[in-house]
């Protein structure tokens, strides 16, 4: 039905969409986790915060799990290289994620304040750690990972864990953490009231400002200081997978290639910057729902900015740039991409439809009174 080249572009788009889906849907859960100890001044208030996302956070996190499965199926070399290369980082991510299902479910099952306080901090870590590790991973992937492929296509990684904490990646962490805090605060502003909603507004203000500053700085860095990558040989975009058949150049500013060729791409970063300003304004004017939608658009803008500048690169290699994994030479076979395409276009709309229904059922503000009335049911 589709030729190999088209399928590869579709699967690049699906990958970006899935990452957007995960970050928009789970980003506010992570943000609320990070804000939990700071915005919730009493046990009841913290329970209000947790219960705004209590019924739905688990479905949201599934975007990440599915992202793992999809990258395995559609981009096996990417899955293999990133997951094994960032081994210890992934381990830390897992340990952070471990704290969430148990944290949500177990926290309010016992009344002991020490028990609850311990779980609150666990949920804080469960929000912070994934946000940090995932932003760190993105920051490093933009710069390229130190791996190469041998002739059997075995991926050999030669970087250390602490190398991940380089200045640009740390700046990306600031962007990611501020973005999730803004998103989480925007959701809280929408779903809570009184003092909590006021505090959420303050959190929106500072996190949006930090986000705007850090995002502009990161953009300037990519343009003027960071090495980008460019394929210098002709590449057959419909050929069988062989990531060793091309040559790649690595030099400062190349990540702007796509922006030079398609100037309209610049709308993505502009959307993010202007959008974050609008989030502040809208939520101050009490258009909390619109502010949350705007905050989601900010996230999509950020991811499109990165994805749009890297295309067709998926995982550049610093060690041997010609080993870089690109859209044209790291995909699954045409048959598998096609099957997975049909599976996705049939199933994801269904997923989104019932997710929307669940959100509709659980709509409305969560209040301290709700918590007190449903002590034994709510998280």
């Amino acid at each position: 039905m589709f030729d190999y080249e088209t399928l590869r572009v579709i699967w690049w788009a699906f990958l970006v969409l899935l990452i957007c889906g995960f970050t928009v849907m789970d980003g506010f859960d992570l943000g609320i986790g990070m804000l939990l100890p700071f915005l919730g001044k009493s046990d009841d208030e913290r329970r209000v915060m947790l219960n705004t996302i209590g019924p739905t956070w688990e479905g949201n996190q599934t975007w990440l799990i599915t992202l793992g499965g999809i990258s395995f199926g559609a981009w096996p070399l990417v899955y293999a290289t990133v997951f094994s290369g960032l081994y210890l980082g992934l381990l830390v991510l897992l340990f952070g994620l471990f704290l969430r299902p148990v944290g949500f479910d177990y926290r309010s099952k016992l009344p002991d304040p020490r028990w609850r306080s311990a779980w609150d901090w666990a949920l804080f870590a469960g929000g912070l750690v994934p946000a940090v590790v995932l932003s760190l991973a993105v920051g490093n992937i933009i710069q390229g990972l130190p791996f190469q492929l041998d002739s059997d296509l075995r991926s050999l990684y030669s970087g250390g864990f602490w190398d991940l904490f380089n200045p640009f990646a740390l700046l990306c962490v600031v962007v990611g953490v501020a973005m999730c805090c803004m998103h989480g605060a925007a959701f809280l502003r929408f779903r809570t009231q009184a003092m909590l909603a006021e505090r959420a507004q303050r959190a929106i203000l500072w996190s949006s400002l930090v986000f705007i500053g850090a995002f502009i700085l990161a953009g300037a860095w990519v343009a003027y200081g960071l090495d980008g990558y460019r394929i210098t040989s002709t590449i057959d975009t419909g050929a069988v997978v062989n990531p060793l058949a091309k040559t790649v150049e690595k030099s400062t500013g190349l990540w702007l290639d796509n922006y030079r060729e398609y100037p309209a791409l610049v709308l993505a970063p502009l959307l993010s910057i202007a959008g974050a300003g609008l989030v502040i304004l809208l939520s101050a004017k009490r258009y909390a729902g619109t502010a949350f939608i705007m905050s989601s658009l900010v996230i999509i803008g950020v991811l499109l900015t990165a994805g749009g500048s890297m295309f067709p690169f998926l995982i550049p290699s610093t060690l041997l740039p010609s080993s870089s994994l690109t859209v044209w030479d790291a995909s699954a076979s045409r048959f598998t991409l096609q099957l997975l395409f049909f599976a996705t276009v049939i199933m994801m709309p269904v997923v989104m439809a019932y997710t929307a229904w669940v959100y509709r059922v659980m709509r409305g503000k969560v209040t301290v009174e709700d918590i007190q009335k449903n002590q034994n049911v709510m998280y």
Binding site: E58, T66, S155
Partner: protein, 521 residues
């Protein structure tokens, strides 16, 4: 060359995390269906006690489900983190069911689990019932897709090696989906899960009955668990996994190892009830045998032979030699695609390429392997027999014990005297660990029995791992060990606490500890 230590540590970590995950999965599978049944009864009869049952067992379900999710994420990532070459080599096939599992099953269960707990006052009775059924459906669908993936590891059909991409690629989705091994595994595993959920409800209800508290609640729970459990345990035993052990060489190896069958017997083979497998001498000491039984179980016939291990090893030696030819010519066509004679030879020996790869562990150069190296690879081309032999027997013993418990529970239920049979109630309570022991050992038979392959006859485990250092693995093993132990202690603490509280934890005012003169535990 990958260090043996890294491979062994990666295997240990995979076994640890998979077995740990599998402490929670069977209960999720079974309990979600029991919840759906209980709630269906509630909707049909409108008796609030069935709603209380759904909510109380639902609380225990939630405590368990959280751990299942926690430990499941590890597994979704672990193929990439620890088995990167595997991920590249078979991702084109293996990744597909995993991706579909995420979209079709994980979203379903994790979206509706929230609504199950939070939706009681916001949904109509029927809507909530639908939610619970969708939750149960999601858990079983996830089992379906992961077992399709696993079935392919045991019996890889519908795929072909592509020398240009150096990996296996999918050729038929129907073959992958309707893989007979996957189908048998699915039925066996979900039925084992239903048995686990039933044993859990049966045993805990029995404990309440022994204490003479919340009797109406416990008797109803006991009744539902005994009926569903009896059906489930019968399916597990009748539709046993071993009926899938006749296709594909690795499955035959498992069957021979389960049976400690060294020589091929004339059909129908006898069943070794007991004995001590002696790996060195390749015989079973003090064997107690039953004629005919094994052949019937394994082949469902009286005239097909069950292959013995010695015969299998002889075949493997020949296939390793043939695999060397495939490997040699693969290197030639990788260098020069137009080398027609090499391509012809490769095609002729392609089916044995995996056997050639077995040599990588023993020979510096596969193409010039010595006789000793070929012998070493042959000897290790099947797993050790004793762990499989014993795991299988203990698993079956657990199954038979459970069959007895469920049958007795069902019988006395029908006579309405189950709550008076204290011996049975005690047996049901102390029998709670049985399904877990059986499930864990079932995993050992299926997955240890697959060694030395990660993908049967195609990719040796030894080649599958990531290029990691032993230090990284010690670190991750220690991390998992600590995290999982702490979480398990917390989970058990909470579970036992809520089991002791019983339905009083719902605060409806109707149950034991809420009556006058009763204090909380």
């Amino acid at each position: 060359m990958i260090a043996n230590e890294v491979v062994e540590l990666s295997r240990l970590q995979f076994a640890l995390t998979a077995l740990y995950h599998f402490l929670f999965v069977p209960l999720t599978l079974g309990l979600s269906f029991l919840l759906a049944i209980m709630e269906s009864v509630y909707v049909m009869t409108d008796k609030p006690i069935y709603k209380d049952m759904t909510r109380f067992w639902g609380k225990l379900f939630g405590i368990n489900f959280a751990m299942g999710v926690t430990t499941g994420i590890t597994l979704e990532f672990q193929f990439g983190t620890n088995w990167a070459y595997y991920s590249h080599y078979v991702g084109d096939i293996f990744g597909l069911p995993l991706a579909i599992e995420g979209m079709m099953a994980f979203f379903l269960e994790s979206t509706f689990v929230g609504l199950f707990f939070f939706g009681w006052d916001r949904l109509s009775q029927v809507q909530h019932l639908l939610t619970t059924w969708l939750l149960a459906l999601g858990t079983s669908l996830s089992a379906l897709w992961i077992l399709i993936a696993n079935g392919w590891m045991q019996y890889p059909v519908g795929a072909e090696f592509n020398y240009e991409t150096m990996r296996m690629e999918l050729t038929s989705f129907a073959d992958l989906f309707f893989n007979p091994v996957a189908q048998v595994k699915f039925v066996h595993t979900v039925a084992a899960g239903y048995t686990t959920g039933s044993m859990f409800v049966l045993g805990i209800s029995a404990w309440y009955l022994l204490q003479d508290r919340d009797v109406a609640f416990a008797r109803r729970s006991f009744r539902i668990a005994s009926g569903f459990g009896l059906a489930a345990v019968l399916s597990v035993i009748v539709l046993g996994d071993e009926s899938g052990y006749t296709v594909g060489e690795v499955q035959k190896v498992k069957l021979a190892a389960i049976e400690a069958e060294w020589e091929t017997e004339p059909p129908p083979a006898s069943f070794t009830l007991f004995g001590f497998p002696n790996e060195e001498a390749m015989r079973t000491d003090y064997a107690v045998k039953f004629p005919w039984v094994m052949g019937m179980i394994a082949t469902r016939s009286v005239d097909e032979p069950v292959l013995g291990l010695k015969a299998i090893l002889n075949t493997n030696r020949e296939r390793i030699k043939s695999g060397m030819v495939a490997y040699e010519n693969l290197q030639l066509i990788r260098k020069d695609k137009s080398n027609a004679p090499a391509k012809a030879l490769f095609e002729a020996h392609k089916a044995d390429l995996g056997y050639g790869l077995l040599l990588k562990r023993y020979a510096p150069n596969v193409t010039n392997a010595t006789v000793q190296e070929i012998e070493a690879a042959t000897r290790h081309s099947v797993p050790r027999v004793a762990p499989i032999f014993w795991s299988f027997r203990i698993m079956v013993l657990c199954g038979v014990l459970m069959l007895f418990i469920f049958a007795a529970a069902f019988y006395f239920n029908a006579r309405r005297t189950a709550h008076k049979q204290h011996w049975l109630l005690r047996l049901a309570f102390y029998g709670i660990p049985l399904p877990w022991i059986a499930a864990e050992l079932g995993w050992v038979v299926a997955e240890y029995g697959r060694q030395p392959w990660s993908i049967a006859e195609i990719l040796p485990t030894h080649l599958s791992s990531s290029s990691l250092s032993a230090g990284q693995l010690y670190l991750s093993l220690a991390g998992f060990g600590i995290f999982y132990t702490v979480l398990l202690v917390i989970e058990l603490f909470l579970m036992i606490k809520y089991v002791r509280l019983g339905p009083s934890s719902l605060h409806t005012g109707r149950y034991h500890f809420e009556q006058e003169g009763m204090s909380h535990v």
